[in-house]
């Protein structure tokens, strides 16, 4: 008697609520599969695999009748209660032998389709009943969990070796939407029953029933305490006597109040519109339970992941400091390199003019001296010498170039070894992260990348410093000032020589002082030129140390050493993202649950895991 999906009495908001719930499930699904290589995430995936089909089914089977599994220890009167509810002997009951029920019994109204239940797999028998209590639900009389041995069969065969009741129970319960937990004074504190119920309670509302009411004391207050200690909310426990109820039913008498209340609760809380609410609440509970489980699995890793992230930042800073120190020292030490660079700029921009010609001449002479001397080679030396930053090298040889930048293989391996320890604490093991000691291939990809980035960064930094200084040359006043100062002396010398030659010697006929003055004058001109050149270079170099400091201070933003530790930071970030998403999803689920929460009168549920 499956009701149509667009049940006219369904609450108008239901579909909207389910849309929000579907969104949540989609997000959870995407999150669960987002980091399959991480062992804690694999645990989450395993938990999800058990939950996902149920969530799907709950959504698909929104309008189907609820299946109520009657569970409890052997001898607690499950079958008797089912018989009483079904209004006739549908399931064998009695005290002849324990356990009584071996094959589960499914009780449904005559027109209800139960073909979707895994009847054959669980060896269930279907019984039809017209009783009002089963008009709108499907009842399943389940086998007990407490007679099947938990120990393996011994050497001597025992009658219970063939008892598979608990296995059967665990095969049936996944098909149940609601659990009707039956207990007696002797069995309400049974460990094995509590274990089975705890395993199947997430997402399944429960009805609690104490049977044997006419014989046993009322243990409901104590049972309620016990259940609440295990994390259940227990709005109500029904107390019935199945035998008495069956007798009264057969005799056509009115049921006693406890039994009547149970029948009423089944009708009001599990049928029709209530069934949708039960499913929706159950699904949300299940999603909440799953997210709670994933918290339990992931929380122990949170500290480790945070420590890895902090450690990676610390090690990166350490290597960057070494890099910055070495770069600063090298740049400062490369005086002649700077000079050459700046002179080069000078020569490029200043053409023609006496002083320019003088400068070109000096540079030509200086070029006779071998290049690179005093710069000490290395990446920075090469850059300052105006060469390509890094010659093409492969494998271990690249380390040699890194030494120049203050980073040695030992320092990198130290950082990576420290991070390996932290990664192991966060359960991020190879191949999620690389090995501490970089092999040939890893060197190729990390050290070379670092060298490339550093080379580019340094080259652009040096270019910037040079360009700033280039600006100082561009003023016409500077250029012509120097030209005039230099040419001034030359003109003075020429004038003096002209006066000497034309006026004194030719005109006055005095004895000249020969070429002596000219020689002296050329030496003075040379010295004057060099002095001017020195002045010019001082002007160009001014504030270089400070600028180098400024350049090096910006090294952190360039993330130059990142390639060396990239695997650790990437893995740490992935894990941190995964953990953060779990928190977000749990909050979303809690918000949704709070928005949709409706108090149930008689249905209990598993709120949380027992402490």
């Amino acid at each position: 008697m499956a009701r149509p999906a667009d049940d006219p009495i369904a609450a108008p908001g239901t579909e909207v609520d389910f849309a929000a719930f579907d969104d949540l499930v989609t997000s959870i699904r995407a999150w669960v599969g987002s980091f399959p290589e991480w062992p804690p995430a694999r645990g989450v995936q395993a938990a999800w695999d058990g939950v996902e089909p149920r969530l799907d089914r709950a959504r698909r089977e929104l309008s189907r009748l609820l299946v109520v599994g009657v569970v409890g220890g052997t001898g607690t009167g499950k079958s008797t209660l089912v018989n009483a509810l079904a209004g006739g002997e549908v399931s064998p009951a009695g005290d002849v032998a324990r356990p009584t029920t071996v094959a589960p019994v499914v009780v449904a109204a005559p027109d209800v389709d139960v073909a979707w239940l895994p009847l054959e797999a669980i060896g269930a028998r279907v019984v039809r009943s017209n009783a009002p209590a089963v008009a709108n639900v499907v009842l399943v009389d389940c086998p007990d969990p407490d007679t099947q041995s938990s120990s393996p069969p011994g050497a001597e065969p025992r009658p219970s070796d063939g008892n598979r009741n608990r296995d059967l129970l665990e095969a049936i319960l996944p098909a149940c939407d609601v659990l009707l937990l039956v207990a007696t004074a002797q069995k309400y504190r049974s460990w094995i029953v509590a274990r089975e119920v705890a395993a199947f309670a997430p997402g399944r509302p429960l009805l609690f029933v104490q049977t044997h009411a006419q014989r046993d004391h009322d243990i409901r207050p104590d049972w309620q305490r016990e259940l609440e200690a295990e994390g259940f909310t227990v709005p109500r426990i029904f107390r019935v006597d199945g035998l008495d109820a069956a007798r009264r039913g057969a005799a056509g008498l009115a049921p006693e109040p406890g039994f009547a209340a149970l029948v009423r609760a089944i009708d009001e809380e599990l049928a029709g519109r209530a069934a949708r609410r039960v499913r929706r609440t159950g699904s949300l509970d299940l999603a909440g339970w799953f997210l709670g489980e994933s918290s339990r699995l992931l929380d122990p890793c949170r500290d480790g992941v945070a420590a890895l992230m902090a450690g990676a930042a610390g090690e990166r800073a350490r290597l960057e400091r070494r890099l910055a120190d070495a770069v600063a020292v090298r740049l400062r030490a490369g005086r002649s390199g700077w000079q050459r660079l700046l002179t080069g700029e000078l020569l490029d921009r200043w053409q023609g003019g006496a002083f320019a010609i003088f400068l070109h001449a000096v540079a030509a002479l200086a070029n006779l001296w071998p290049r690179g001397r005093g710069v000490g080679g290395g990446v920075i030396g090469r850059l300052l010498a105006g060469e390509a930053p890094v010659p093409v090298t492969a494998g271990r040889a690249s380390w040699q170039h890194l030494h120049d930048l203050g980073i040695t293989e030992a320092e990198v391996e130290q950082s990576r070894s420290v991070l390996s320890g932290l990664a192991a604490r966060a359960r991020l093991q190879p191949p999620l992260v690389g090995r501490a000691c970089l092999d040939e291939a890893a060197v190729e990809s990390t050290v070379t990348a670092l060298l490339d980035r550093s080379g580019l960064w340094l080259a652009s930094g040096i270019d910037r410093l040079v360009a700033e200084r280039r600006g100082r040359l561009d003023g016409r006043a500077v250029r012509w000032g120097f030209e005039i100062l230099f040419s001034g002396l030359a003109v003075l010398i020429l004038v003096r020589e002209g006066i000497d030659f034309f006026y004194r010697r030719l005109w006055l006929g005095e004895q000249g002082n020969g070429s002596g003055f000219l020689q002296e004058a050329i030496v003075w001109l040379l010295l004057w030129g060099l002095a001017l050149r020195w002045l010019l270079l001082v002007r160009l170099r001014g504030g270089l140390d400070h600028d180098i400091e400024r350049l090096v201070a910006g090294l952190g933003d360039a993330h130059l050493v990142d390639p060396l530790l990239a695997d650790f930071t990437a893995a740490g970030e992935r894990a941190a993202g995964y953990l953060a998403e779990q928190r977000r999803l749990a909050e979303r689920c809690a918000t949704l649950a709070a928005a949709l929460d409706e108090p149930a009168v008689g249905l209990g549920r598993l709120r949380s895991r027992a402490p």
Binding site: T147, Q186, R189, H217, E230, R425
Partner: protein, 648 residues
């Protein structure tokens, strides 16, 4: 094998008194000396086993505390062989089956409070016969429990341990009615199937100590797995069972009981000596004294002329009238049989211990094989070693060919001066600095490599992971490198150990080769620069060149040793007489040793760091586990087991 196989031969007795056995045709009780003879074997056996248990636990052998033999050995044989025999009668069963009510009924007094709520009895209660408290008491009879004198019938429910006291309390009370038979200790026990697992454990401790168990069964619980699992080991260990079916709908369910009992017997392998039915009678329960209907038809050979109804005290009196000595002996033999079982007994555990010890030995070997790392130190600055040799040579100088040494020294200085002049050579202090930096880098790389090998070993071997992972994963590795750096910074250029080593080497060489001593200087000047391949590893025995680096033989320790070859590069080609002298007199090995010794001295800081900071006491722990197989206890235990078999 069950306890019944081992006990003294003789037909099983069926009693006449309400189905209890009595003694007309049983074997005579054991002579007084037999307890002492058993104790002479069992007590030392238990002591040896006890010594081995903590080690076995660290080896990863399953905890024997939950095994049957452990319970029988420590819970029954040791305490009970050491003192005058008493008959321990324990009442056991599931939650809310009326155990306390049965105890109160057969004790004839309200000793243990009975409540309608389940699993309320948290602690066992022992009712002692009159006079026992004044003589032997219960000291030692129930190991694992803290005895507490009874103050009210609520004690088994409410007693809680004092601060620092063990959790398991046993409340005891002396019988005041005078009806409890002498030599019989009666116990109420917590449940065996409830949600409080501590209760199960306490019930099991009492069960292990018991000679007779009164199994309180009900229509709901007689076939529960938890109930079967509790009583089956009792039957296996030769304990005598009395079954009480409680809350029976009497007489309607009388004919059902035979079927229930048959199931119980088949499931537990037990053979109860008496079966009673206690009718469902709320009024009697409220009075605290229920009655018992003997069911002689349920025990083969049961006496059908016995009275149809017994009070509680009459039930215990019937038991006391049967052959107590024989019941006691059967329980003790059964317990011994459980202990001696070749698979499930001590021997099986010992096998697991030995297998585990072997596996640990293999793990240690694996670690020793895997965890070593080659350190390629930079070539030692020559003058460091040279200076030491020069100091040694100084007093012998007059005996040398000064010309030869002079030429070499002069030539060496000239080359050095020239090299410095053209900027190709740094001065001595700079060279030291460069060397120290390079050496530290090499040591750090070695440490990193070593730790990585340990990581790998842990990934490959779960046992090693169990021991090493807490240090490898939990520790702050930055501190390791900082420690190495600090040790390296504090390292003197030449240690006293090395100085002594050089002297000893040179003295020995001079003694063995008096003729060629004069070439030492030449050889050194001509200049071997040794670049030894140092290996730092975990070794099982030390053969270090520098004596101070040697380890205690036989145990796992961080070692520095040279790996076979010392790579000696020569700075200059040796020519003429010098070269001849070097090879002919074995100078080359000497030079190698001197340089290698220095480098090894240096790498000792790495070994020390690994030993002290990285591994801490893990190596000692690993050695302890790996040497478990060679301890004397297993052999002694095997001998004692053989002796016990002969007794049995």
């Amino acid at each position: 094998m069950t306890g019944n196989d081992v006990g003294p031969p003789g037909p099983r007795c069926r009693g006449t008194n309400g189905g209890l056995m009595s003694g007309p045709n049983h074997a005579s009780p054991p002579p007084a000396g037999s307890h002492a003879a058993w104790a002479g074997v069992v007590v030392p056996l238990a002591a040896e086993v006890d010594r081995l248990i903590p080690l076995a636990a660290t080896l990863g052998v399953a905890d024997p505390a939950t095994s049957a033999w452990h319970g029988q050995l420590f819970g029954k044989l040791v305490p009970q062989l050491a003192r005058p025999p008493v008959l321990v009668v324990a009442v056991g069963g599931g939650t809310n089956t009326g155990k306390s009510l049965v105890v109160n009924s057969i004790a004839g007094a309200a000793v243990s409070r009975s409540t309608p709520e389940a699993a309320r009895t948290r602690h066992p209660l022992a009712s002692l016969p009159v006079g026992m408290a004044a003589t032997d008491g219960i000291g030692g009879l129930f190991p694992g429990f803290v005895p507490r004198r009874w103050e009210s019938d609520a004690d088994p429910i409410t007693a809680s341990p004092l601060p620092g006291e063990a959790e398991d309390i046993l409340v005891w009370k002396e019988d005041t009615t005078g009806r409890q038979p002498a030599g019989v200790v009666l116990l109420d026990t917590p449940d065996i199937d409830g949600t409080l697992r501590d209760n199960w454990h306490r019930a099991e401790l009492v069960r292990n100590a018991a000679d007779v168990i009164v199994a309180v069964l009900t229509q709901q619980k007689y076939n529960d797995a938890a109930v079967r699992d509790f009583f089956r080991p009792a039957a296996t260990a030769g304990k005598t069972l009395i079954v009480v079916f409680n809350m029976v709908d009497w007489p309607r369910q009388r004919e059902r009981i035979a079927g229930w009992l048959a199931t119980f017997r088949a499931e537990t392998g037990s053979d109860p000596i008496a079966v009673y039915a206690a009718p469902y009678d709320p009024a009697a329960a409220d009075r605290g004294a229920i009655g018992f209907h003997p069911l002689p038809e349920c025990t083969p050979g049961g006496d059908r002329t016995a009275p149809a109804y017994l009070t509680g005290p009459e039930v215990i009196a019937a038991l006391a009238a049967s052959d107590i000595d024989r019941i006691k002996l059967k329980a003790l033999s059964g317990a011994l049989a459980v202990v001696l079982d070749p698979v499930a007994g001590v021997e099986g555990w010992l096998e697991a211990y030995s297998a585990s010890a072997r596996a640990w030995q293999a793990s240690r070997q694996r670690l020793a094989d895997a965890a070593h790392v080659e350190v390629t130190l930079p070539p030692a600055p020559r003058e460091i070693v040279w200076n030491e040799i020069w100091t040694w040579l100084e007093p012998r100088r007059s005996r040398f060919d000064l010309a030869v040494s002079g030429v070499y020294r002069l030539a060496g200085r000239g080359v050095a001066w020239a090299a410095r002049g053209v900027g190709l050579r740094r001065d001595a202090a700079e060279r030291r600095e460069d060397f120290a930096a390079e050496e530290l880098a090499a040591l750090k790389r070695a440490l990193g490599g070593f730790v990585e090998r340990l990581d790998d070993a842990c990934r490959a071997d779960e046992r090693l992971a169990g021991v090493l992972a807490p240090r490898l994963v939990g520790a702050d590795r930055t501190a390791w490198f900082a420690d190495l750096q600090a040790r390296h910074a504090a390292l003197p250029v030449i240690s006293d150990d090395y100085r002594a080593f050089v002297r000893a080497e040179l003295d020995r060489f001079a003694r063995d080769n008096p003729a060629t001593v004069r070439w030492i200087l030449a050889a050194l000047n001509a200049g071997a620069v040794a670049r030894p391949a140092i290996t730092v590893g975990l070794g099982l025995a030390g053969a270090a060149v520098v004596p101070a680096a040697a380890a205690t033989a036989g145990s796992l320790s961080t070692l520095v040793h040279t790996a076979g070859d010392v790579v000696v590069g020569t700075a200059a080609t040796l020519a003429g007489e010098g070269a001849l002298g070097l090879t002919a007199a074995g100078l080359k090995p000497l030079v190698e040793r001197l340089f290698a010794g220095w480098s090894m001295e240096r790498s000792r800081v790495l070994a020390d760091s690994i030993h002290d900071v990285v591994l801490g006491d893990v190596l000692t722990e690993l050695d302890r586990l790996a040497s478990a197989g060679s301890r004397p206890e297993p052999e002694r235990i095997r001998r004692l087991l053989a002796a016990a078999r002969e007794l049995a």
